[in-house]
Symmetry: C2
């Protein structure tokens, strides 16, 4: 009944239902469970709609929406790689390339190329749109951590040096949002949600 | 740290995390749990990206993406109303208007108006964009039902007459997708995933 083209599109739409079962390390704000990558992608898209005025450069919101909606699809095969897990990050790129090869090949050629380009643009972080999309993707977990009193940070022994180091790229996309995020990080250290290496040292010195 | 405007935007972004805990009647394709409204909204946005070529009329994809991303926000207060639950549907509009009043008032005025307009446009189904967005919103649960062998249909005693009656509006937005969906419904009846009133009658007559 469906054309070959529609049949392929439908198969892909069914396949990506699996993103709803890919779990991240961050918790929902109500702390009842971890967040999955599909709902995270939705939340990023909402952030883009509401915060695009803070982009450093002129950006294309429609393009950013597409980018954040597809940016985690490769996790269907490659899983979510925790950003502070060095071992898992060593082969992340390879795993994700394989995932992209398999997943996007399900689509008609023109759409395979479109979705792959969106994903690669996000990963390369070299265009204004990708820089802003990445800034949102970094900002969100920090909000989840701050407003759950550092629940995931504490579970994974994450220190403020690691958080600052990883997330300072936010400033490439959205300086004002990075300033806001830095104030959250600082306050998280003050409130004991996030360990400060300096403080750790002080404790050792005592 | 944050301007009043950014503070309001952040509060809204935190508030809508609750959509991840609003459960629908449809199941994930792996049947392990019900789907929530945040991941459903993401999936609809992906459908819009992949299927917008089937819209009956010329549409604006960026506008449709925004519309489907926000279309269920009111469920944070009003809950998900099952489409075949007549009692719950009798006060749905009133509950959702109240929800929109509270939720969207959290935003700066310009954004309150933008998000509310998107939601109302979706609800009214009078523009080409809204017709197409609604067609996707009707199509998705039928795919979930068909590919889980009618799990939610069976649980709620849904018959093919109800499904056809509710979803024929799909043709206003996307005739080809409605044809495809009708073929799914027909096949679902043949395979016993969905009860046919005609067949029920036959059984009573025996």
């Amino acid at each position: 009944m469906a054309s070959d083209r529609l049949a392929r599109q439908i198969q892909f739409i069914l396949e990506i239902d699996k993103l709803k079962s890919i779990m991240r390390r961050s918790y929902l704000l109500n702390q009842q469970r971890h967040e999955n990558s599909a709902e995270h992608s939705w939340h990023l898209a909402m952030m883009a709609i509401l915060l695009h005025e803070y982009a450093n450069e002129q950006i294309n919101l429609a393009h950013i929406l597409k980018m954040v909606l597809v940016h985690d699809l490769v996790e269907i095969d490659a899983g979510d790689t925790y950003c502070y897990d060095d071992a898992a990050n060593s082969d992340k790129a390879e795993r994700e390339q394989k995932a992209a090869d398999r997943l996007f090949a399900m689509l008609p050629d023109d759409q395979r190329e479109e979705i792959r380009n969106l994903w690669e643009e996000f990963e390369k972080r070299s265009t204004p749109d990708a820089k802003f999309a990445n800034a949102l993707d970094r900002m969100m977990p920090m909000m989840h951590n701050y407003y759950t009193r550092g629940k995931a940070w504490k579970e994974h022994n994450v220190g403020s040096d690691m958080v600052l180091d990883r997330n300072s790229v936010m400033k490439e996309g959205a300086e004002e949002l990075w300033e806001f995020t830095q104030s959250l990080i600082e306050d998280a250290v003050n409130k004991g949600y996030l360990a400060s290496p300096k403080k750790k040292e002080d404790i050792r010195d005592e």
